[in-house]
Symmetry: C2
Subunit: 234 residues, 2 copies
DNA sequence: GAAGACAGCAAACAGTCGTTCACCGAGTGA
DNA sequence: TCACTCGGTGAACGACTGTTTGCTGTCTTC
């Protein structure tokens, strides 16, 4: 147990007993753990309320921690909110990554997309609910953090769209607008899924079908964009 | 309580002296006025926070009314929120009405649409901000009220779309999905306008241009929907 | 005119809130 | 080993919360 590792105190990892994440002292590992406990507690509470209605004591109570300890991790609840956005980055990024496929047929891509979205939303509702709720919520810092994240995802999606056939003559700006449109459809679909009764499979099917139709409409518009809408006027 | 209504006591107005809105006693007119004061105060406060973080005392203080008087009008803040949704009905309905035009050329309709949206949002930011913020907010009753309202607007919009050329072979369900897509684009555009700096004209222009492009893409998709996507499989 | 309804008020209630403080004890580095 | 760092604690603070109660003064109804 008492270390006695290799040569000397080697600054890189290797000192941790058995627990904790990569190369962290027991101390900071525990700190990270309780920080995570706070984030989880907040997220749990936010399934029924919004960030700005959350109380500091409420969160620490849910986390099983003394109120004063909160300040060791965050200056206020807004800061915790921003941290939650960064955490949600994970879920969203996984989602985007799973959507990205080299398949050629657009129809298959869209089918796959809605399925993947539904699956991810179901698997991690709290994070998606948090994003949906706070995207236009009352805390400016959180709103901005979410907007920045979404912009990143749009970039990735646009990158993929570029590789697909039918993107040759597209203006850069228009391409981004198209990406935003896709992302918005996906986000609103996720929000609809979150609001639907968990046990109502029919409702879920309906939402998925609707999302698919919307993606199809947009994609048809995309296919005929250049022939139908040349740069036009002004 | 002692019943005996009907016969005399004419239940229909007509007793009001000179003041107030259509055929209301001075009493109930004043009540309505302070009720409105409460709604206005709440809406004002919600420019910077969300409904669920609002305090009852906070609202009455802003309204210049004793806290206890609140209960003469609403059971709790959730009820006030629902009332605000119904009030926002006005703004939204005006918006939809102004969008509805008998013009034939789709391009003109869309141009007009984005202009009208921008104009209405600018003219009554608090109500639109409220809708955007609480559409996915923490109060279930309010969320549901907003969803119901939006469904109504979608109905109206679909009704108009039916009259336009190019709606002949459309499936009823698909038509509604298209309507939702349009409404979602409009709502998100409104939300973007609300988040933009009021004095940043360039940003506003950019948002409007983006909305226009999105509407165009969707409309192109709509035009080629039937030839491109026949009922398809399943 | 008198009797009653009733919107609004001040005061008081028991709680909860965010924040600060001194303090403890386990991990840390020499 | 020893001095030190620092995450977590419990108690205390003043301010503020939602709600109830009894009371006004004015409008309403007869």
């Amino acid at each position: 147990m008492p270390a006695s590792e290799t040569s000397s105190t080697a600054p890189i990892a290797a000192s941790a007993p058995t627990t904790a994440a990569a190369g962290l002292g027991v101390r900071s590992a525990k700190k990270l753990a309780t920080r995570q406990t706070l984030l989880d507690a907040a997220l749990r509470l936010m399934e029924r309320q919004s960030l700005s209605s959350l109380g500091l004591r409420e969160v620490t109570r849910e986390a099983g921690i003394a109120p004063a300890a909160f300040y060791r991790h965050f200056a206020d609840l807004g800061e915790l909110g921003v941290a939650l956005v960064e955490e949600s980055l994970g879920c969203m990024h996984e989602l985007i990554r799973d959507i990205r496929t080299p398949e050629a047929e657009t129809e298959d891509i869209m089918r796959r997309t809605v399925d993947v979205v539904a699956e991810h939303v179901r698997a991690d509702m709290p994070h998606f609910r948090f994003i949906a709720r706070e995207r236009h919520g009352g805390v400016a810092a959180v709103r901005e953090a979410i907007a920045a994240q979404l912009d990143t995802y749009i970039d990735e999606l646009v990158e993929d769209l570029r590789l697909q056939p039918g993107s040759e003559g597209w203006d850069d700006g228009d391409m981004r607008v198209l990406g935003r449109l896709y992302v918005n459809v996906i986000m609103l679909t996720a929000a609809d899924l979150l609001d639907a009764d968990v046990n109502d499979l029919a409702a879920e099917e309906r939402i998925i079908a609707e999302a698919l139709t919307q993606l199809r409409i947009v994609s048809v518009g995309r296919e005929h964009w250049l022939t139908e809408r040349p740069p036009a006027d002004e």
